[in-house]
C-alpha cells in the first residue's frame, strides 16, 4: 500500500517537472525569436531575461497554488495512508484476535485434554484404591468371620463346659446333702481303711521324713 503512494508521488513530481521543462522550452524559444531583435544583447542580459521569465512563470501565486496542491495531495496521501493503516490495523487486530482465539482454543483444548487425562488417571487411581480397599475389606471380613466363628465355638464350648461342671457340682452337692448325713461313720470304716491302704506308702514316707 505504501509503495503505491510513493509511485503516485513520483508520478506527480514527474508531471510537474515536465511542465516546468515545457515552460522553459517555450520561454527560450520565444527568446530566440527575439534574439534577432536583441542579438546585440550580452549573455548577462540574457540570463537576467531568463530569470525574469522564470520569475514571471513561477510567480508567488503559482508557487502558492503549487504549495496548496502539494499540501492537499500530501494530506490526501496522509489520509489514505491513515485509512490504509487503519485497515491494516483492523486486519492485523482481526488476525491477531483470530490467532489469539485459535491459540487460546488450542491451548485450552490441550489443557482440557491434560486435565481430562489427569482426571481419568485420578479416577483410575481412585477406582484401583477402592478395589484394593474392597478386597482388603473382603479379606478382613473373611478373617473376622473366621475369628467370630472360632470365638463363638469357643464361647459355646466354654458355656457347655461350665454347664457340665456346674451340673456336676449341683449333682455332687445334691448327693452330699442327700446322703451325707445318712451314712454312719462306722459303715465308712472299710472305705476309709481302703483309701488309707491305697495311700499307705505315701503316708509312711511322709511320716518317716517328718
Amino acid at each position: 500500500m505504501s509503495s503505491l503512494t510513493t509511485w503516485w508521488f513520483v508520478g506527480i513530481l514527474g508531471v510537474l517537472l515536465a511542465v516546468t521543462l515545457l515552460l522553459i522550452f517555450v520561454a527560450m524559444h520565444s527568446g530566440s525569436k527575439r534574439k534577432g531583435h536583441r542579438s546585440k544583447e550580452s549573455p548577462k542580459d540574457a540570463q537576467t531575461l531568463v530569470d525574469q521569465e522564470v520569475e514571471h512563470i513561477f510567480n508567488d501565486a503559482f508557487r502558492e497554488e503549487l504549495r496548496n496542491r502539494g499540501r492537499l495531495h500530501f494530506e490526501k496521501i496522509i489520509g489514505e495512508n491513515a485509512m490504509f493503516l487503519q485497515q491494516d490495523l483492523r486486519l492485523t487486530t482481526s488476525q491477531l484476535n483470530e490467532y489469539m482465539k485459535t491459540e487460546i482454543t488450542r491451548k485450552l483444548k490441550e489443557e482440557f485434554t491434560k486435565y481430562e487425562e489427569s482426571i481419568m488417571d485420578a479416577k483410575q487411581l481412585a477406582v484401583d484404591s477402592i478395589q484394593k480397599t474392597n478386597t482388603a475389606i473382603d479379606e478382613q471380613r473373611a478373617i473376622l468371620g473366621t475369628q467370630l466363628q472360632a470365638q463363638v465355638a469357643e464361647e459355646k464350648k466354654y458355656l457347655v463346659d461350665k454347664f457340665e461342671t456346674d451340673m456336676t457340682r449341683v449333682v455332687n452337692h445334691y448327693i452330699l446333702e442327700s446322703i451325707g448325713n445318712q451314712i454312719d461313720l462306722s459303715d465308712q470304716l472299710g472305705y476309709i481303711i481302703g483309701e488309707l491302704e491305697a495311700n499307705k506308702k505315701e503316708i509312711i514316707k511322709d511320716i518317716s521324713n517328718g
Binding site: T165, L176, L185, S186, I192, I193, L196, I203
Partner: protein
C-alpha cells in the same frame, strides 16, 4: 523301755498327755504316802483304764517307782516324738471306730502313731488325712469331684473309659 507298747485306748496326743498327768499324780501320791507316818490310812487315786492297760501291755507295775519312771519317760518321749496324723470326719467318731482305725494305723503305718481328730461336716463321708507335710483327701466329696469327667461323659452319652 523298748518293749513299751502303746495301748489302743491311747489314740490322740491329748490321751498321751492325760496319761502322763495321771501317772505323775500317781507317782506324787505314792511319794507322799512313802513319807507319811504309819497308821494313817490312804486311798490310791483312781487310775484310768487307759493307764492301767498301758502299764499292763508294757509289763510294768505302777506301784514300782522304777517302772513308773520308765513309763513316764516313755510317755514324755511319745508326747515329743510320736508321729501325729490329723484326721477329719464328717461327724464325731465313736471310740470303737477310732480304736479300730488307730489299730490299723499302728499295724500298717507306725506302731506309735496317734491321731488328732477333727470335724469337717462338708466332706459328707470319708475323711481328710493330714500328715506333717501332706494332705490326703479321702472324702466322698473329693471322690465325686474326681469322677466329674466320667459324669460329664455320661451326661454326653459317651462311654466312660
Amino acid at each position: 523301755m523298748a518293749k513299751a507298747i502303746l495301748t489302743s485306748l491311747i489314740t490322740s496326743p491329748s490321751d498321751l498327755r492325760r496319761a502322763r498327768r495321771e501317772l505323775e499324780a500317781l507317782d506324787e501320791f505314792l511319794h507322799q504316802a512313802s513319807l507319811r507316818q504309819g497308821g494313817k490310812g490312804a486311798k490310791l487315786p483312781p487310775t484310768s483304764r487307759m493307764l492301767e492297760d498301758l502299764a499292763a501291755d508294757s509289763d510294768l507295775n505302777l506301784l514300782k517307782k522304777t517302772d513308773r519312771d520308765r513309763l513316764r519317760k516313755f510317755l514324755t518321749l511319745l508326747i515329743g516324738k510320736a508321729p501325729v496324723i490329723h484326721m477329719s470326719f464328717a461327724s464325731e467318731p465313736s471310740s470303737k471306730f477310732l480304736g479300730q482305725l488307730v489299730a490299723w494305723l499302728r499295724e500298717n503305718i507306725h506302731p506309735q502313731v496317734v491321731v488328732s481328730v477333727g470335724l469337717q461336716p462338708s466332706i459328707a463321708a470319708g475323711c481328710v488325712v493330714r500328715t506333717a507335710n501332706r494332705q490326703f483327701d479321702l472324702s466322698l466329696r473329693q471322690s465325686l469331684d474326681n469322677q466329674t469327667a466320667a459324669f460329664i461323659k455320661n451326661l454326653r452319652g459317651e462311654t466312660p473309659s
